[in-house]
Amino acid sequence: MGTQFDFPGGIHPPDNKLRSLQTPIRQAPLPDRLTVPLRQHRGDPGRVVVAAGDHVLTGQPLSEGQPGRSVPVHAPTSGTITAIKSHEVPHPSGLEETCILIEADGRDQWYELAPCPDSASTAERYDHLHRTGVVGLGGAGFPTRDKLQSAEAAPDVLILNGAECEPYITADQALMRERPDSVVAGALALWRLVGAGRCLIGIEDNKPDAIEALRQSAEGTSVEIRVVATRYPSGGERQLIQLLTGLEVPSGGLPADVGVLCQNVATAVAVDRSLRLGEPVIQRITTLTGEALARPGNIEARIGTPLDHLLFEAGLDPQRLHRLIMGGPLMGFDLTTTGLPLIKTANCLIAGTAGEFPDPPIPQPCIRCGLCEQACPVDLLPQQLYWFASAGEHRKAEHFDLFDCIECGACDWVCPSHLPLTDYYRHSKGVLRQEQKEQAEADHARQRFEERQARLEREQAEREERRRARQQAREQHHNVAPAEASEAATAAATSPTAPGPDRETLIQRRDQARQKVEEAQAQLAEAREQTPEAVPKLERALNKHQKRLDAAEKALSDAQEDT
């Protein structure tokens, strides 16, 4: 075991992991109906490439990635698409998003899968991963391709995160102890892909079975198994990097900035299967636990499987169910309905009883005891952040590095006043993000407005310019024409393309002028009877038109004389 480094703070909550580790990973039976949300990752939803009524095969793409962080989703089983519509998705907001509803035909026929060819370049391999819908399966759902691309050079260290520090969750532990070979294969596949100097798998020491299994599988390879002391949140990406390498990811930076790439163990397995078999992410191992379940354990289920289907499999007692949590008890969020689908990032589902998860006590005022500050794994000042966040002074909270908060919930756990501190930070972050978004929109609108103003001014100037040019040409014609008429005539005689208007244009002009004069005369007559105050103005206009008519007639007669 190499040198152990440390991260600040941390807590030791009861881990409650044994309950779901009694049985091996089970396969969930195929449900009749599946709901596949278009967005199961951090980013934008992809573009749907199927339509309602289509028959799809297992693993067939349902959407395709768009520029930006947009990852496709795939059909979890063969069947018919019944609808593409808004449906509730697992999210703390409880809002709806576009989902593809599939009625399974039960045959589970596979789509033809295309493994990544050996000759593919690194960029092509990244794109292959993206096409097969690989995202971080640890819980955050960051698109794997974008994470791999974030490093400009090959990282020094590749870390596989098998720490799984949050209580109750055992999905990664089950994967590591039962399928250590595939984890090591995934580690090697990722290692080859990114070309790091070393490859470490970090595991907490409360998983001896997984450590032993991985040690055996990793024998003969250069993959190092690193055991770290159990302490929440050692499984946080930044915390694990700090534990294993002693390097601290800078504030606002990425692990790539310190030459580290960190991936969850389940993601590594998905990467391997994607490259080797061409298999898209259509299933995952998820932990079903909590005292309201008769048969807790880890279950491998298709993405899109309704949660009530899984909970039924695990023997849910609806009478005893008090809180349904997706994710762990510290970082997860409550679900209000079981009609939601399983998504790529759902690593755990806790059906807790009232005794297990009592309602939170009424928050008492902050007494500035400083326990939260000692528990914070990122060395923030939680009570100060709470002070600002609760008072709506989000900017000040930002100056106290609010965005470095990993929302681990350690401060909540130690708070003697039972303040929901992390909820305050989430709220504050949300407000700030929304403000940033609005600011960006306003800047965009300002740019468009200014460009439009500039365009209007330019057009106005051009019109002015044209008008002046026309006027100039006319004046020139009037002044120059009589004096140089003979000259022009000789020029016209020698060259058929001589300048100056031809006879027809002149006639047209004279007719127009005559019409104007007639109109003006009519208006004047009318004005004399009805609106005497307008008479002088109209008289002036008539004079002007009359002059123009005279000029036009003169020009015409000149032209006739010339010819």
């Binding site: 929109e441 468009r448 407005f449």
Partner: protein, 201 residues
């Protein structure tokens, strides 16, 4: 004695005169750039260019504020903008002046395309070029560019433009303030470390 007194007075006068001259020079020479202030105010305004403040756009209003106009005339920006302006200018925030309109959720214009006669009047009215179309052809609004300023609604001769509230998706969702959340317990508990269930038991 007299000499000392006069000397002290003269020294003080000299000092006052010197510093006065320095301050006067500084106030002229280091005057705050008005343009940069206008820029800063303009950056806070929501850029809907709606003209509800009575000025033809956000920048003219920013200029007016820099000249000393009230900061509470911007309904699209609402309380948040007033607060930011108050912070920026170091003045007391005032409630929104209802004379200029009320704060509303973000809306976008929507053209009922079947009724559009293709007159281009709305296109000319749109301050951010968010409407596409040509004479005698149907027009439509580019939703992502529309600032919801309402300026296209009045010029439309056939009243085919609706202002629709923007549906808020997960991307716009802000986690609620914990204090706004409904309490899971009945009634308030006065400072005590007991939980209500235990207290009543």
């Amino acid at each position: 004695m007299w000499m000392n007194l006069l000397l002290a007075i003269a020294t003080l006068l000299l000092l006052a005169g010197a510093f006065g001259a320095l301050l006067g020079y500084a106030s002229v020479r280091l005057r705050r750039d008005d343009d940069s202030l206008v820029e800063q105010i303009d950056a806070v305004l929501p850029q809907t260019q709606c003209g509800q403040c009575g000025y033809p756009g956000c920048r003219p209003y920013a200029e007016a504020i820099a000249e000393g106009d009230a900061i509470n005339k911007c309904p699209p920006g609402g309380e948040a903008t007033i607060q930011s302006l108050a912070n920026l200018l170091d003045v007391e925030p005032q409630p929104l002046d209802a004379e200029h309109g009320e704060e509303q959720p973000k809306r976008v214009a929507y053209i009922r395309e079947a009724e559009c006669i293709g007159c281009t009047k709305c296109i000319q009215a749109c301050p951010v070029d968010a409407i596409v179309g040509a004479p005698k052809f149907m027009h439509t609004v580019i939703e992502s560019e529309c600032t919801g300023c309402d300026l296209c609604v009045d010029p439309c001769p056939v009243d085919c433009i609706d202002m629709i509230e923007v549906a808020r998706g997960i991307d716009d969702w802000v986690p609620p303030h914990p204090a706004d959340r409904p309490l899971t317990h009945d009634g308030p508990v006065i400072a005590t470390d007991q939980r209500p269930a235990e207290a009543s038991a």
